[in-house]
Symmetry: D2
Subunit: 346 residues, 4 copies
């Protein structure tokens, strides 16, 4: 249930309304949008009578039920106003959102050495990326495959962050590593395989740092938004949703199926910002450019693209990685595309 | 197996090479591309010795094996040259292909009355479409649902063709109706449910008219190209491939999943032109615009978009139909997008 | 809508009720079950008032709405009584149904020669099968693969039928072949790829011969029953439903996924008899035995099993074919299993 | 790579062979089967020369490569001998395996109260079950749904274990709860959503307690075996594989698709014991009995069935739960089925 407050209502009156609503088994959350203030109510809302709430104050404009099973994640919860997730990086604050410039995240699947990640980071920065992605802990299908350089890789990422000023996005696989990761990462990634690792979601939610939530390989859109809800319900409003391809019946030519229509669907359902990852979706570097352009055309807020200095020798995901040079050229095309659809570009 | 002929070879010499290759269980097909001539061989090619073929004439540049199970449909069969399917419509010749202008097909799911189809056709023409689509025979899940106005609808389509000069695309469901349809249609559509109706494919192939082959709801890309191969093998080189959404595990918000990455995948595999149908893929009119733009950004040659004068009262597929006004506005956006990716627009 | 008639009602009164119900846009179908008579109404039933129908005769016990989109195929349409499809074979009448003995269908994917099909037929008969299956017309993914021996194969099947007395099941792919097939076949098969070839369904329905309707590779259960409804609506009540594996995300070890829980699901939804085909479902002969036993344990009415005299040399589907010896041994196990679940065995 | 030792080789000689093989980056694991001893080698086996290993001792019968990506989980790793996972429960030791009696696990989705779980446990024991399942920590799609009674539920399970002597199977969702769970559980369950939570798999593997590894909703069989490999590689050989339904395109009538053919497939690939869970697979109690019988017919080693004293009032998964009375009757049928396929019953 949400309570829309009339424009111009004083903070004192909003506080008073919040206090009036206070009861066990009910949480209130106030969203200060650009044009309106909305108080969301989550919990035992069944006992609440909209008319009684309306009567609390003349500043209450409207009381509305949220019909979706996801509450805080729903667009209704913010009364139609899209949220902006603002991330502080050394270079600047970067905002993810429908009305923000396109955000570009790039980097290798895994951090392979200090030199490699530093060199890559400088090239990505030169190409215009705002974030460096790179795995310190890697979820690998086989226990015998390279599992990431762990703490060492986190240190190298910290160096790359310091040297280039790029923001860092890296994946958490185990709550035990959360503190170490949070010291380096500007955005913490929850990977597709852990999208329904509810314990991890709660802990990541409690941590407060912005979270990039990748869609599970066969997660429905509703399950994905419910996973976001776990993070939001734990008190962390800074969630970015990342589509990275779904599993379907045909895997002969692409690794996954790029579900690009999530963009208009999510716009109807949620206020959260959207990222698309054409590299994991297709699994082949030669398909990344056209899919990145398509994602911008369809309205994505952000892109994640795998870039490796030497894809042929990558320890993981080489076939889907662009070279820094390819990425540079793609960024030029992406800029043109962003302009064509009226998306600003930093 | 294909034989690449040296540039400047005389038609007489090409004829002579063809005759030298003539044997039972082997068919030759000569493609006259812009820059080269290629003779394709299909049949018992196992017995053929590339060196012997090379020795037939000094004008033979190269002899190559085709490794794909689809032969005539493969890009190799034309030695990397994309084909153009040229369709004669009353207004003009319209070419479908990688290097041709974007082709726009629009119209209602089914032809509901003469007035309705005429009015719609004029509006689509005004908006810039080159083809009118509309079903005379409708494949409906239930035998009790409206099955199309059949011959009557064909007559109305003929009138719309004559009055507006638009080309006509309509679906064949039964070989018995093929002649009647071929008299009206400029392009004959084989629907998703009949993509592996091999008897129909052979007969449509024998007919000679251009064919729009929709991808089956759960057809792999390879199966789709093998279905095209049935038409090509029956002697009809004019096949256009149309992606219209595939069936996956999530149907809650979209009717199907729009498999947009078929565009770069098909470009690697086949010389045939590509069409995308965002209306059937998403099943909701509010998602069509962003998906149409994404398809152009990804490089489609053509779009098929459902338009109905009054979607709320449509006899079928109303929820996914744009109004003519919405289509007009979308065409404006599509034009901008086409320019942004360097696709010409007529 | 169905009208349940009181036990003991005279045929004359039933006729009279039927006449009272007669109107345009409405069809009545009388089912004479073992324990009750039910009149089904299909068409514009919205205008019908159950109370008025009740008032037609004191012999009307009950008037009920059918909520499913499939009407004639629904279990409600026969008021909970399962139908029996009785097929006349030279040897005897064979009934398919929940309360009939298990029916065993076996044979090769395609009829390869007269000798081959005759030898196989005799061995299958010796093992206890009642039907010989074998393709004369084969739906093959590639136009260059063996397409079946066509009319010649039909002749050989006719010989096998005459010599062994087994019933014949063979697939129709094209309505043009329907008459020729109907002369030989005791049951006409509509294959998975044609499950939504509605033109063919209508024509097969009009023909009257019993029909085996295979489930499409990615057809939902509801779509499958709607396809059966096309046949039933065309006037043919003799439809058997055959599950043959569905397409899912994992094809590494089995060709399809054997959807065995269709058995209890169909029992709730439809009165039609059920067949299971573990050969196409798994695609590997070594998995057929355990899946055939599981199907009997789950309550199937019938099994279709691929058997080839020399699987290694089969022109199609060799890897999933049992040898006649393996089939003989499996039949022994199946008999034990049938007894364990109380299914009679002929 | 595995080394098969000749029958009758002394333990001293086996030790000596193990020592000869000792080198960094290589682990050896000796399996003492009933008929043979096999030494498995995992790690950098590329440098090993089979002939040199053969030369280590005349007691080496054979040296074989394992071609599967899963090593310890592969059937080859034990040279074709199926493993037995023996679990100590208060009542007795219970063995899971191809040659062991059928093991029956039953219980509610979640442990709702001490009384509820005690009553249920006594009824299940009376019906012949050997294990009680029940969730203390529940993975729920929504953060607002009942999440389980946690530690309290573990205490109640401990009481039920003590009172009835049944073994306990309960799910771990978070490594932080592993110790508490391991004190109560005889078998620790890793749920479908955590099948690729590799951190958890490693920790559960290090713990040593028998593990029930549920297949992920859209995990391929190979991914499932690779997940088992994580546990085995961490030193825990006691893994049971549990199929619980996969996600496909059709969810209208069943919650998931019961992939019953995993039974013969797993038998070819792995030595690990197999459990089937028809309750989660179908999601409807009325389908459980036929699917449980089918699973036994297909050769499962074990069944997991949801039973709740009052399904209509269950806090989770009520629709798929049997009552204790229904379970009792099903056990009677299952016994008959086990006998029909030659599976012993305790």
């Amino acid at each position: 249930m949400i309570i829309v407050i009339k424009p111009g209502t004083s903070p004192q009156e909003i506080d008073r309304i919040n206090q009036e609503l206070s009861r066990p088994n009910l949480k209130t959350e106030t969203s200060l949008g650009k044009h309106k203030v909305v108080i969301g109510l989550v919990g035992d809302t069944n006992e609440l009578n909209p008319e009684q709430i309306q009567a609390i104050s003349p500043c209450v404009e409207n009381v509305l039920q949220i019909k979706q099973p996801f509450k805080r994640a729903s667009l209704e919860f913010r009364h139609g106003e899209y949220s902006e997730v603002v991330v502080s990086t050394p270079n600047s604050e970067v905002a993810f959102g429908k009305n923000a410039p396109l955000v570009n995240v790039a980097g290798p699947c895994s951090v392979e050495s200090e030199q490699m990640i530093l060199d890559t980071a400088f090239q990505l920065k030169a190409a215009g990326a705002q974030f460096l992605r790179g795995g310190a802990y890697k979820p690998r299908t086989s226990p015998y495959d390279f599992q990431g350089h762990a703490e060492l890789a986190l240190e190298w990422l910290a160096t790359a962050r310091q040297e280039t000023g790029l923001g860092i996005i890296t994946e958490v696989m185990d709550a035990a590593e959360l503190n170490a990761i949070a010291e380096v990462a500007d955005v913490i990634q929850v990977g597709a395989r852990n999208m329904q690792n509810f314990s991890l979601l709660k802990k990541v939610g409690a941590k407060g740092k912005p979270v990039l939530l990748k869609r599970g390989m066969s997660a429905t859109i509703q399950e994905w938004l419910m996973a976001a809800e776990y993070i939001l319900a734990a008190g962390n409003p800074n969630v970015i949703l990342c589509e990275r391809g779904i599993r379907t019946f045909d895997k002969q030519y692409t690794r996954n199926t790029f579900d690009i229509s999530v963009i208009p669907v999510l716009r109807e359902l949620t206020h959260l910002p959207i990222m698309l990852d054409p590299s994991h979706a297709t699994g082949k570097s030669q398909y990344v450019a056209s899919m990145a352009l398509a994602a911008i055309a369809a309205g994505t807020d952000s892109l994640m693209i795998e870039v490796h200095p030497n894809p042929a020798k990558a320890l993981s995901d080489g076939p889907q990685s662009l070279t820094p040079e390819q990425f540079y050229l793609l960024m030029e095309e992406m800029k043109v595309m962003a302009m064509a659809v009226g998306r600003s570009w930093k």
